[in-house]
Amino acid sequence: MPVLPTRPDDEPLDEHVNASDALADPDALVRGFERWGYIADRSLATAVYLSTKLRKPLLIEGHAGLGKTEVAKVLASILGTQLIRLQCYEGLDVSSSVYEWNYQKQLLAIKIQERTEQTIEEKERHIFSREFLLERPLLKSMLAQDASPVLLIDEIDRADEAFEAFLLELLSDYQISIPEMGTIHARHIPYVILTSNRTRELGDALKRRCLYHWIDYPSFEKEMRIVRARLPDIEEELSGQVVQFVQAVRQLDLAKPPGVAETLDFSQGVMALRSHRLDMDVISETIGCVAKSMEDAVKVKAAGMEKLLPQIP
């Protein structure tokens, strides 16, 4: 996804007033999202609103490239708070998601302490103190000092079931226990957003704890608004053609249908070629933005202009 446009300078807003106002009701959130260049519909805004009000994690599912991750980023921007991101992958474990001891530093400390008169217990207490603790995203979100951060747990479906079970515990109590130090409670309960690409079914226990939102492919009108919000320089006619084309491509039976991210890439690609309208040549040059495998590219080409862009002679 392209980088979010920063808020225009001519709109100076006091961060704190802004944050509580933006959460006043779903409509305020829609406006808040739009100010940061994210076109959200009421349904999504209601889900985010409830997640902040009920303090429940929000699970967002949807195909790739539809802006699931962006929701968390924009929410953090709206609230003027820190975004803490945990990218999940297979084999993700506690030491890379919660905390880890700084072993090199511990070894050095032990060496330095060698000649001192400290007892073993004192030494142990020293090297297992906060000074030697490396905070990973989940612990960091518990330790946030001044305001609730937004905790984004990205692609939770990629982590394995054991981690999911661990997460469950964390999300219900918001506390983490470190054997050497004791239990740490969250100072400010984070706003938690989880995303999933549905590569595997999540456990029911986790789903039960979360609010849910499904992001589908946008309608033509919504996608036009997204393109205009993200790429203000695009010509009106071209953006219409691009969106129409991508929407038609989604109807084909592709292995990886293009998401909104692809629409934006594709638009930028076409603009970079300095084309003002779509034709078959431009499409074949930029097809890699839309079709992400050889088979898909062949299918798109085989479908032909007439079917994908019927309104262009």
Binding site: I120, T199, D204
Partner: protein, 378 residues
């Protein structure tokens, strides 16, 4: 007055959750409570907000999400959120669901319930090593009716033992992966910081996921019954097993096989699966499977087991294409063909020939011994 309204709304929401349960959505206690909280947080006079609030708290998969607006409309109608009752409206469909599907499937049902008591009375008498040996080798299609019960019990026991052994074997591993710094440093403290005894970590061996794809079409009649039991026995001991039945359509039965008793599972089965003893469209079924379940289930640690005789009435090209897809996502594809037990069988049926290039292990599955021999392929 106002209090009264709120209470009535709460009652309606609880009713609505019951209504959702009738239609297959979870609507459990926890979600109901969330829905009540959510309704409190939004402006319920605005029906759209109200609908979105309930949707986000009561759904948790895409399928439920897509279904929700229709169900919401059906229950709340055009009116403002107000008290409604779910229980009297939807009695019809849930009741006659079971009746409408009692075609060939009742065969399974009948045998299951008849055999359960039989195995108790007759079974014991034949339990000698030699009888077991004999039964292990007998082709499922040639089992004399009297032996059926014994064979069944024997097969369950043997298969159970096999899956138990398998899961044990997978958990033992001595391969050292890397040094566990955390434990090593801990241990070194008592030796003044000299890491003399190192601690190691090794990767936790991950159990494979099995996906069983079982043909229940007419040509498999003699075998499908036993193979369902095979699937049941495997499912008992592997946590990650998904079982699908197919003939012209695909239906998942994993949840049924997870029930405690086999007869109960089979009873549920006969109601669920249509198309027992029907025609076969392997390619089409596999396409459905790849589409709806493939991405979720097939991965680099998945063994896909196809149990079929390869008699396909569909296009062999489709079968080949779908086999290629499945092969690409799964770690290994096993095709178990009961006909392979016949002496002069050649895999030359069009379907079988089309699928064969994408199969890693092509093995017989006509008797117990052949099923037990599969152990080494997992």
């Amino acid at each position: 007055m106002r209090q009264d309204r709120i209470e009535r709304l709460a009652v309606s929401i609880v009713e609505f959750c019951r209504f959702l349960r009738i239609h297959g959505l979870p609507g459990d206690m926890r979600r109901t409570v969330t829905a009540l909280e959510a309704a409190k947080a939004v402006d319920v006079a605005d029906q759209q907000s109200f609908a979105f609030a309930l949707q986000t708290s009561l759904c948790s998969t895409m399928e439920e999400w897509v279904q929700f607006p229709r169900l919401f409309q059906e229950f709340w109608g055009e009116s403002q959120p107000g008290p409604r009752s779910a229980s009297d409206e939807h009695r019809g469909p849930s009741k006659n669901d079971g009746r409408s599907r009692e075609d060939g499937s009742s065969v399974v049902l009948g045998q299951a319930s008849e055999n359960a008591p039989l195995s108790d009375t007759k079974g014991r008498a034949v339990y000698g090593a030699s009888a077991q040996q004999r039964l292990k080798k007998v082709d499922f299609s040639e089992v004399p009716y009297d032996d059926l019960a014994v064979l069944e019990e024997l097969s369950l026991r043997l298969l159970r033992r096999m899956s138990l052994r398998l899961s044990r074997r997978l958990t033992i591993s001595n391969v050292v992966d890397r040094i566990d710094l955390r434990r090593s440093i801990r241990r070194s403290i008592s030796r003044g910081g000299e890491p003399i005894v190192l601690a190691y970590t090794s990767k936790k061996p991950k159990k494979r996921r099995l996906v069983i794809f079982l043909d229940i079409s007419g040509s498999m009649n003699f075998y499908s019954l036993f193979l369902v039991r095979f699937a049941y026995a495997l499912q008992e001991h592997f946590r990650r097993v998904n079982t699908f039945l197919f003939s012209t359509d695909v239906v998942e039965i994993s949840d049924l096989l997870r029930t405690r008793s086999l007869p109960e599972a089979l009873r549920g089965l006969s109601q669920r699966a249509a198309g027992w003893s029907g025609g076969t469209k392997i390619g089409e079924s596999l396409r459905q499977f790849n589409r709806f379940y493939g991405k979720k289930l097939l991965s680099r640690d998945t063994v896909l087991i196809i149990l079929s005789d390869g008699w396909d009435t569909g296009e062999p090209e489709l079968l080949a294409a779908e086999m290629r897809v499945a092969r690409r996502y799964a770690e290994r594809v096993l095709w178990l063909n009961p006909l392979l037990g016949l002496k002069d069988y050649q895999p030359i049926t069009r379907g079988m020939a089309a699928a064969l290039p994408y199969v890693d292990v092509f093995a017989p599955a006509h008797n117990l011994e052949s099923l037990l021999a599969l152990e080494r392929h997992f």
